[in-house]
Amino acid sequence: MGVYQLTNRRKVMQRIPMNFWERIYLPAIIKGMTITISHLFKRKVTYQYPEQKRPMSDVFRGLHILKRDDEGKERCTACGLCALACPAEAITMTAAERSSSELHLYREEKYAAVYEINMLRCIFCGLCEEACPKAAIFLQNDKMAQASYERSDFIFGKDRLVEPFLQSKS
C-alpha cells in the first residue's frame, strides 16, 4: 500500500524552527502595533455619503436617459435595436406613428409610445447605447436607479427616462 498521490507536483514543507525572539512574539507584536498606530495619522478615505459623493468615472454606466435633439424633439424612433442588443432583455417598447399635431415632439414619423426598461433585469452593460443608430439612449455617469421596496418601481417608463424638456433647451 503506497501513499495515494493526486498529483506528482508535491512540495515538502520545510518548517524552520523559530528563534528565541520569534518565539516570545513580543517584537512581532510591537512591529504590528507600530503599523496600526501609523494608520491613526493617515488620511481617511471616507466619503460623507449623502452630502459628499464619490466622483464617478466618465465612462461609468448608470441610469439610462432618452435624449432629445437640439429642438427638443425625442430622438428615439422605436426601431427596437436596443431591445435586440440587450443581453438581459430588459427593454420593451411599443411604436406609434406621429400625427401631424405632434411634429414638435418627435423627430421622425415613428416614435416610441411606450418605452420601458426593467432596472432589476438591466445589467448596465451599455450595449443599448452602442446599438442605437439615432444616438437616442445613453447611460449617465452621475445618476443611478434608486432603491425601492416595490418591484414595480423598478420598471422605468418614459416619464423617468426621457430627458426633461427644459434642460435641453437651456
Binding site: I29, G32, I35, T36, I37, H39, L40, K42, K44, T46
Partner: protein, 340 residues
C-alpha cells in the same frame, strides 16, 4: 465627622457616575479608535463629532425587545448581567484618585476607602466578576453560552494565578497591600514599572485576559460561539454585559496606572507647593494615564488576532506562571542582596 460621611457619600456617587460615564464614552472611543486605525472616520452623525452616539446606543438598547429563553433559568438569567455589573463597579472603591488635601481643616481623601488589604480586595472582587458571566451563560440553556461561560471561568482561573504571582513580587518590593501606600512610594518618577518590568508585562497580559479583551476574548468569540456567554441576551441585559466590560477596562487601566505607573503622581510633583491646584493636576494626570491604558487596550484589540484556546492555556500555565515565579525569585534575590 458627619461632614466626612457626607463627603464620602458624594465621593462614592461621583466615582460611580464617573465609572459609568467613562465606560459610556469608552464605547465611543473604541469605535473611534477602531475607525481611525482602519483609515475610517467612525460615528460622526449624532451630535458634534458623534459625541451623542453612546446615548443613542443606550437608548436603542433600552427599547429593544427583551427576550428570555423559555427553558432558561429565569432568575439566574436575570441575575447574570446584574452580578457582572455590580462586581465591575465595586472594584473602584479602593483606587486612590488623588492625594489627600485639607479642606475646612479636615483631611479629605480622594479614595472611597483606604483598605490596608486593598490589593487583596481587588483580587477578590475581580475573581467574583466571572460569576456573572458563568451564571448568565449557564442560565441561558444554550450550548454556545455554556461554552463561553466555561471558557470565561477557566481563563479567569488560569490568568488570576499568574496575575497574583506577578503582584506578589510587587508586594515584596513595596511591603504593603494598601494601594495608597503603593502610590505614595512611587513619588517623584520612582515608578514601579522601572523596577518590575517583567512583573508589569505579566500583569498587563493577565489584565487583557481578565477583562476578556482581544486577543483573549474567547468567552465571546463570535467566530466560534455566536456571541459566547451573551448569545441569548438582548436589550439592556446585553447592554449590561457589554457595559461592564468597559467598566472592567477602566478599572484595569486605573489599577495598572496605580500599581506600576505612579498613580496620581507625576514627575517634579515634589517641587510644587501643596494646594488645590496640585490636587486637581494630580487627578488629571491619573486620568491621563488611565486613558492611555484604555487606548492601549483598544490599540491591541485592533492589532492582534484572537488566540486559539489551547494557545491561551499554554501561555497562561506554561509561560506566564513560570515567568512570574522567576520574577518573584529575582525580586527576592535583589531584596536579600540589598539588605546584606
Amino acid at each position: 465627622m458627619s461632614s466626612i460621611i457626607l463627603f464620602k457619600l458624594i465621593f462614592i456617587l461621583a466615582i460611580f457616575g464617573v465609572s459609568l460615564f467613562i465606560a459610556m464614552y469608552a464605547t465611543y472611543m473604541e469605535r473611534k479608535v477602531a475607525a481611525f486605525l482602519q483609515d475610517r472616520i467612525g460615528p460622526n452623525r449624532a451630535g458634534p463629532f458623534g459625541l451623542l452616539q453612546p446615548l443613542a446606543d443606550g437608548g436603542k438598547l433600552f427599547f429593544k425587545e427583551e427576550f428570555i429563553p423559555l427553558k432558561s433559568d429565569r432568575w439566574l438569567f436575570l441575575m447574570g448581567p446584574g452580578f457582572f455589573m455590580v462586581t465591575a463597579l465595586m472594584t473602584s472603591a479602593v483606587i486612590p484618585f488623588g492625594p489627600d488635601f485639607m479642606y475646612n481643616n479636615e483631611m479629605v481623601s480622594l479614595q472611597a476607602t483606604d483598605l490596608n488589604v486593598g490589593l487583596l480586595y481587588i483580587f477578590g472582587v475581580v475573581s467574583l466578576g466571572v460569576y456573572g458571566v458563568l451564571v448568565g451563560g449557564w442560565a441561558s440553556n444554550n450550548k454556545f453560552s455554556l461554552l463561553g461561560a466555561i471558557r470565561a471561568a477557566s481563563q479567569n482561573i488560569s490568568y488570576e494565578l499568574a496575575m497574583g504571582l506577578s503582584i506578589i513580587a510587587l508586594v515584596m518590593m513595596t511591603s504593603s497591600l494598601s494601594l495608597r501606600e503603593i502610590v505614595n512610594q512611587q513619588q517623584g518618577g520612582n515608578w514601579n514599572v522601572l523596577y518590575q518590568p517583567l512583573g508589569f508585562l505579566i500583569f498587563l497580559i493577565c489584565a487583557f485576559a481578565e477583562t476578556n479583551r482581544a486577543p483573549f476574548d474567547l468567552p465571546e468569540c463570535e467566530t466560534e460561539l455566536v456571541g459566547g456567554y451573551h448569545t441569548e441576551y438582548s436589550s439592556m441585559k446585553l447592554g449590561f454585559f457589554l457595559f461592564a466590560e468597559y467598566i472592567n477596562m477602566f478599572i484595569s487601566s486605573a489599577i495598572l496606572a496605580t500599581l506600576y505607573f505612579g498613580g496620581y503622581h507625576f514627575p517634579f510633583v515634589s517641587q510644587m507647593e501643596p494646594g488645590m491646584l496640585k490636587v486637581i493636576l494630580s487627578v488629571i494626570v491619573l486620568f491621563g494615564k488611565i486613558f492611555f491604558f484604555i487606548f492601549f487596550f483598544m490599540w491591541v484589540r485592533w492589532t492582534l488576532p484572537r488566540f486559539r484556546y489551547d494557545q491561551l492555556m499554554n501561555l497562561g500555565w506554561k509561560v506566564l506562571i513560570p515567568l512570574a515565579v522567576i520574577n518573584i525569585l529575582l525580586t527576592g534575590g535583589v531584596i536579600l542582596f540589598k539588605s546584606m
